[in-house]
Amino acid sequence: MTNFRIITRYAFAAALVGGLGFTPGASAEGVSRVELMASQCNSCHGINGAGAKPNPSIAGENKEDFLDLMQAFASGDEPTSIMDRHAQGYTEAELKMLAEYYSKQ
């Protein structure tokens, strides 16, 4: 993850130097909202969501499945000990961002 980020940063800089067109993104050099949101999951699901037994890994989860499960936790359709209380705290757009993010970890 870290290496990947460094590479994209340098690619970004190289694009600038090379005169390629781009729009400066406000958070291109800082921390994105989804990175910060996802970091909050690490306390139970391990670094980058990779899991720490018996807590499940959420890294590399199919994004449709991730979203579906989180929504089912939030609505109570899927029994869970604590994930309902977490899932209810995020908007659908945020859950989609997290689904996208974890599908790429």
Binding site: R9, V17, G19, A26, V31, L36, S43, I47, H86
Partner: protein, 427 residues
């Protein structure tokens, strides 16, 4: 390029509608590699260790130094199982090699002073350290004297075990030496204090030990508060696991202890009732660490007021205070909250030093309490920032009437929580 230049750069480029690139301008590559600057983090516990690691992860070019007094960290989480004898202290002790391996400079020394004007801190060893940004996560200290005769010396006869280490082992020794049929008294302090469910988890773990080893014994909780964390779920668990071994007395029923006598091993309340214990776990009233108090960073109640998004002190610029020492609205003083705050703080610092806007804050808390073998409960919350205040948007306590399967799962996931959060801190 300093953070200031970078911010201007973005502003200028934005204003010019910069879409076509910079043509032949030569920019040093490293100028675009993210945040740079010197960040010093004080305290290598839940807030500080987490913050240092995320600063380095999100700002690989940052010069991050962690200053911690001790050579290793013993977690308060799971220390109640050391008292009951289920775990050894070595199993909850963590070293700092993982932080050093992640490129963080780890300095083992005590910070003796902070100079926000000069942007430096003084170390007991004699040297000082300069910073661009300073993060403080020094935890709590005790308000000795809030209860008559509760002085620092009292902790030998009546250990608090509210900072894990020698005190944890002392309380364990006393519990294990007690006769069958003895009385353990737990005296929780008036709120706010570190780990609101902690005294009640401790009662549970002590009861678990006593049930097997000294079943005629009793645990009396003399509480300075009218109610306690996860109350209904704890009381349900106690009744099912321990019958009436644990008795909880609230403040108005005589629980509000105002003096103690270590010589006779008694504690007394305003009504004139005196209780005698064979083991007394006296948990002192609390305030933010002396480090921040001596630096003038605390409010009249003894805690640190901060901007609840970035955790920057309301008193000193470029000084950030996270963890138990700060006031974070409804977030409980827990290791999980401290780590959550640490990540928001790291994101604000990295973004600030990179000249970009900090992401919208996002916080959570998950605190499990063990009640007995394969039986745990939890409190969970997700928080957001609204009008400068942290507010809870979802969460709650484990339901009363949950099936044993749920208690069992919570007990399992509690172990996964410990592994995850300590790996997140120490690597």
């Amino acid at each position: 390029m300093t953070a200031y230049d970078r911010r201007d750069f973005l502003k200028v480029m934005g204003a010019a509608g910069m879409v076509t690139g910079l043509g032949g301008l030569m920019w040093p590559l490293e100028a675009f590699a993210g945040a740079s600057g010197k960040v010093v983090v004080v305290g290598g516990g839940f807030g500080g260790a987490t913050c240092a690691r995320y600063l380095k992860r999100w700002g690989p070019k940052l010069d991050v130094t962690l200053v911690e007094r001790d050579s290793s960290f013993i977690t308060c989480p799971f220390s109640n199982e050391v008292i009951s004898g289920e775990l050894e202290i070595s199993e909850i002790t963590h070293g700092y090699d993982g932080l050093a391996g992640a490129g963080i400079k780890v300095v083992h020394d005590e910070v003796s002073g902070i100079d926000p004007g000069g942007k430096s801190i003084k170390l007991k060893g004699g040297s000082s350290l300069k910073y661009d940004k300073l993060v403080l996560s020094p935890g709590i200290d005790f308000r000795w004297g809030s209860i008559e005769n509760d002085q620092i010396a009292t902790q030998e006869a009546m250990p608090h075990a509210w900072k894990a280490g020698a005190q944890t082992l002392l309380l364990r020794k006393q519990l294990h030496a007690m006769k069958d049929g003895g009385t353990v008294i737990i005296v929780p302090p008036k709120k706010p204090f570190r780990c609101p469910p902690g005294p009640y988890e401790r009662a549970s773990m002590m009861a678990s030990y006593l049930k097997t080893n000294k079943p005629k014994s009793k645990i009396l909780i003399l509480d300075a508060n009218p109610s306690h964390s996860k109350q209904a779920a704890f009381h349900e668990g106690w009744a099912s696991q321990y019958g009436n071994m644990i008795e909880w007395v609230k403040d108005s029923d005589g629980g509000d202890i105002n003096s103690v006598d270590p010589a006779s091993m008694t504690v007394s309340n305003d009504f004139g009732d005196t209780y005698k214990g064979d083991v007394i776990n006296l948990i002192p009233y609390q305030k933010a660490s002396l480090l921040v108090a001596n630096a003038g960073l605390t409010n009249k109640d003894g805690w640190c007021d901060v901007d609840m998004g970035s955790f920057e002190s309301k008193i000193a610029k470029d000084v950030y205070i996270i963890g138990d020492a700060c006031v974070a609205g409804p977030m409980p003083k827990s290791g999980h909250s401290s780590a959550s705050q640490a990540k928001n703080c790291a994101a604000a610092i990295v973004s600030g030093l990179a000249g970009s806007e900090a992401p919208e804050p996002t916080y959570n808390n998950t605190c499990y309490s063990q009640i007995g073998p394969k039986y745990a409960i939890s409190v969970v919350a997700v928080y957001r920032l609204k009008d400068g205040e942290i507010v809870k948007v979802s969460g709650g306590v484990s339901k009363v009437g949950n099936k044993s399967r749920v208690h069992k799962n919570e007990s399992k996931y509690r172990v996964g929580w410990y592994k995850s959060i300590t790996a997140d801190m120490f690597g």
